[in-house]
Symmetry: D2
Amino acid sequence: MAACGRTGLWLIGARGSVATTAITGLLALRAGVVPPTGCVSAGPRFAELGLPDWDELVVGGHDIVSTPLDKRAEPLTEAGVIPHRVLDAVRGQLADVDAEVCAGYHPATHDGSQADAAARLGADIRAFARRHDLARVVVLNVSSTEPVFPELPEHRSLRSLEAAMAVPGRTVLPPSSVAVHAALYAGCPYVDFTPSTGIRLPALAELAERQGLPYAGSDGKTGETLVRSALAPMFAARALRVRSWAGTNLLGGGDGQTLADAEHAGSKLESKGRGLATLLGGEVTAPLHIDNVPDLGEQKVAWDHVSFEGFLGARMSLQFTWTGLDSALAAPLVLDLARLTAAAHAAGQRGPLGAFAFFFKDPVGSTEHRLAEQAAALHAWAADLRERQ
Amino acid sequence: MAACGRTGLWLIGARGSVATTAITGLLALRAGVVPPTGCVSAGPRFAELGLPDWDELVVGGHDIVSTPLDKRAEPLTEAGVIPHRVLDAVRGQLADVDAEVCAGYHPATHDGSQADAAARLGADIRAFARRHDLARVVVLNVSSTEPVFPELPEHRSLRSLEAAMAVPGRTVLPPSSVAVHAALYAGCPYVDFTPSTGIRLPALAELAERQGLPYAGSDGKTGETLVRSALAPMFAARALRVRSWAGTNLLGGGDGQTLADAEHAGSKLESKGRGLATLLGGEVTAPLHIDNVPDLGEQKVAWDHVSFEGFLGARMSLQFTWTGLDSALAAPLVLDLARLTAAAHAAGQRGPLGAFAFFFKDPVGSTEHRLAEQAAALHAWAADLRERQ
Amino acid sequence: MAACGRTGLWLIGARGSVATTAITGLLALRAGVVPPTGCVSAGPRFAELGLPDWDELVVGGHDIVSTPLDKRAEPLTEAGVIPHRVLDAVRGQLADVDAEVCAGYHPATHDGSQADAAARLGADIRAFARRHDLARVVVLNVSSTEPVFPELPEHRSLRSLEAAMAVPGRTVLPPSSVAVHAALYAGCPYVDFTPSTGIRLPALAELAERQGLPYAGSDGKTGETLVRSALAPMFAARALRVRSWAGTNLLGGGDGQTLADAEHAGSKLESKGRGLATLLGGEVTAPLHIDNVPDLGEQKVAWDHVSFEGFLGARMSLQFTWTGLDSALAAPLVLDLARLTAAAHAAGQRGPLGAFAFFFKDPVGSTEHRLAEQAAALHAWAADLRERQ
Amino acid sequence: MAACGRTGLWLIGARGSVATTAITGLLALRAGVVPPTGCVSAGPRFAELGLPDWDELVVGGHDIVSTPLDKRAEPLTEAGVIPHRVLDAVRGQLADVDAEVCAGYHPATHDGSQADAAARLGADIRAFARRHDLARVVVLNVSSTEPVFPELPEHRSLRSLEAAMAVPGRTVLPPSSVAVHAALYAGCPYVDFTPSTGIRLPALAELAERQGLPYAGSDGKTGETLVRSALAPMFAARALRVRSWAGTNLLGGGDGQTLADAEHAGSKLESKGRGLATLLGGEVTAPLHIDNVPDLGEQKVAWDHVSFEGFLGARMSLQFTWTGLDSALAAPLVLDLARLTAAAHAAGQRGPLGAFAFFFKDPVGSTEHRLAEQAAALHAWAADLRERQ
């Protein structure tokens, strides 16, 4: 097979915590100062697939924030996400990457139509690809979770969508979907690491189809849902009846703030809930909370309490507490997805990449939520790709 | 295929908590007063395999205790394992089963050779099979965990073992292995639900081979280890580095008492430890304790603390608390194993049933400890069996 | 001093879970079939205070539910709150108590004015006292938590309140406060075990004052808040800075249902929150949830996560999980409060009984929330009472 | 009253984690770069007692380790105990303190008698006092926990002890007790922050008495036992019957290593156990483990599971997980004890300081283990001291 070659990774939200950690980590991996812990694609099952090496990945992106990456990295060292010595080792290169970050789109600061906005975003990506002589660019959304955006009739077909986008001042798409439109037009495969609307509109799926591009998403599975997707199948496999599964999430950082807003939490909670019902084969009482606890910083604490019934109706329970650093969990998956999506694109795959469900809370192109089965599907995808080469 | 037909389930330790719960539950299932919650073999994947129905399973057994089953069941109602209404519904039939329980073997109360002892045990089983006109009898050990028994040179071959067994007063085997010898001579497939020595001696494997019998084991996976086998693969799949995995088990009941004795704990701890190292792909710091806490009764509380490292060395942790009723968790698996082993025997399978690893902490015939993979192997076994019929 | 003599305990909500457990327990204590575990007033510090003995307490009450007490007790045996043998021992006497339960007041089923309603309730209590020749009757509210009732100008003085109460069809008071009005007019000391409005209106405090009656409340401290009141002072005493204290409560039973309604939760959450801020000497981030999880039945599971800072800003945490049976925790305190309030009344005490803060989440007559200090205040009250005799 | 004036703090184990954190913190407090979080003596109840100010405390000590303090502090920054900016702010002064640390005593490296050893240690302390013109020197042991030392008849009186100490090559005392002998001869009050033997020998108590010196100890209460001493009284106050209280401690760092050795654990476990039985008013099943988990570094994780019984025998449980940084918890108490013991000495107090039980797992001069009562006793001591001035 042909190797992917020099590959662009274009991050929507390129100066957020996840992006900053991913970029810093990529530079550190390139410099050989850290092992690839947490990077699934660094394992032996993904060898010889022609994935872009660490030094073949070139990063750029959009962000509406202008604080440079090295400043963004500093609080992450205090938070235990980035070791001081790692930041010291890559500080110079962080500035280079920061120079590749362009101003993002936000309706509040944009005059003109959303078509204009998408065109401008697309031009940024194309210029980046030319500047670095890239074989392909994977566009990946790690920006803050958006409030739920209403369904509109214009979303149903590409034609009606683009007509509406052309109207100056009209906001027919949330920013995440404007970015998708730009990416697809620019010929880039797309990955959604957030629960925002993104590509999940018929009109945009139509565009991806027309462009023959693969895409993956959505909402990176990094904490409570990851554990649930490993544990819930245990109950099913053992014919134990889960009676309730309650969850509480405490998070600080930007995400805590964003999700404290009930509207925002809506989209996240929904994305978490879908999986649980599927995993357990039916609805159970499953109250779920996300609380903003600023002092936790980058830390995310999740407590789940599962009440279940066994033989002769015996009542039992399982509870777990997960104490994770969200950016540290998400960042290596961002690099994995960039590499794997590049390989899918290079192999001519198109449409939703269901084999990547392993990475997501709410996978597109797959109804599988069980972690072990998702891992098996990903490994099968890799084995299949290797064989074809 | 041919259905299994009337099948005997011969329990070593037939008046223990697990056996009492399994028997009471079987009678309740037969009476239709409870659903088969916790019974894996009642699921659709195991339909049409010709497994013995609830009313085709006939139970007998050995025990060194003489308290009748209905008396043994009473504390289990207080403990939340058996509902009062269930005991009331099956009390009469419990007495019938109790009449099929013969005196077990214990070196302290036995005169003569172990060969005599095994012969007597075997005769009990054969008489039971004749009395009930059974197509086959599965012998299954649910007696208390034995202290670790020393390895002896006589264990290396059947010939040397039987020579030693013939010497009056000589104790060359622990009781669990005497029971295995008896079972195999009586032509019965054998299942070990405990961590005791049982069939795990070369001489006895040789006997099973000679007799062409299948066997399964060992040490039913019902609590902490079950959860570990679901969770540990998550860390491996995500390339997260587990740095330590500490566990504490609090248990009352007979098991708590037995395992408080350090010697006994030895065999249980070893059996738990083997799995974790395999699951994580190497040794980690993994202190493990089993404490006898009599007030917990049938309840078993396990707390595990996992410390792991992610991207850029980030430190994170997962802890869980499992509050289970051990007999309620074990009993349906006992019924599953009786049915599935009967089907394996009916299909002419022989030797260690590695496909049953799903049920065990320390599986014979398999090195797979990951729960999802074990479930898949069991399902494949069932599908294969169905196809052959 | 004079002993309290035959004392009435008049329960508002006499057929609820807490009342049913308290009544069953009282009968069991009288019969000598259980020890007084959980009864604070049975300890040596409360001896020789002339408290009514178990057989000097006579129980009656109001309820809007008509299911008799023995039927109400049955699900509580399944739930692990009342042992079967205890219910069997007292079933007959439960019916006797049930005969003393009169129809409670509810605006939806009442024609006429609230003054009429209060008069009718008061007449029930007086008839009960005469019928049993009681020295005094303690009225105690254990009915379901009410939705928050709006503050009205009529609540400011007894005169304006009673004018409004006299208007037919006017609902100027929630049911809990109508009951208080009735109790005080009937010359009865009053205890509020719920977070409902009850006596906490200026007009009703004025009435208590005029009648010279003592009263205590409110909202029995039985679970999460109890633990908080023991733990929070630890942080203060050690000069550790609590940064956040998050709590999640999972509850089934009637309470779970009631509190699922956001309006209802309002009053409970507020009552819990007040204490924490006081205990920690200032506001902290303290998200708190109450979820209805019906399968938990009488069980209440609370998880608290405390994030705190020590020397040089070091970040640490404490989390706890409480698994309690709410009715089992509340019931003995109901008996304690009946006995202690009777003694306060016999000793001529009047107004809010701040020394009883030990029992409450939101104590009247005290700003002390620290459990050890509350215990000390209660013990001092008892010692003082003993000395005066 | 007279202020304490310039006060020496002489640390046995001056280069250990606790000492390094205490010294670094003292320098940071003096520089005003951190608030005194965790320092009990910085609160208003301890104002106007003439306690030495941060800049009146002069630190020296003994250690058998020669790694200088600034090197010792570095891993503590990685561990989250000392912030980088704090170490940077005080690095220079750390070297000054390090210059005051003399070689400690260890039997394996010492020729001659223990009397000689004690004389040499005492001379070091006296020289330090003269060099810095100190009003008094508090000697405080924060060295590693010693193995249990056997009781010897020579320990019964000072005369017999000193006779034995004079014999060259004879090891009649553990190092901690040799240090006590030196301290008391040098006229210094003594504090034991470890569970080692230290002053707890009749002969050494006799010496303290003869010298008219106060002393305090032993074994700083910083984690699991601290929480227990806040929680256990809750059960007693509420007449709830604790049935079992199981504990598991996971610790890395030097302490983890030391305590992994069963002999060492012996002395720590005993010291923890004594308190619990006293707190609960009798023996309960209370298995307790201390595990060495090196990857946890300075972190200490303790899990406790309390099973208790309430009204009518209802079974309930409380469990907690404490995640602390041991050195961060101990260090401010070391400074507190130095200041408070200096004040006790200045006020002419002698013998065991029972009022300081608040700080210790196994208090000398007090049988009080309840935290709130210990806090009250300490506050009373302070109030009394203030009044006398």
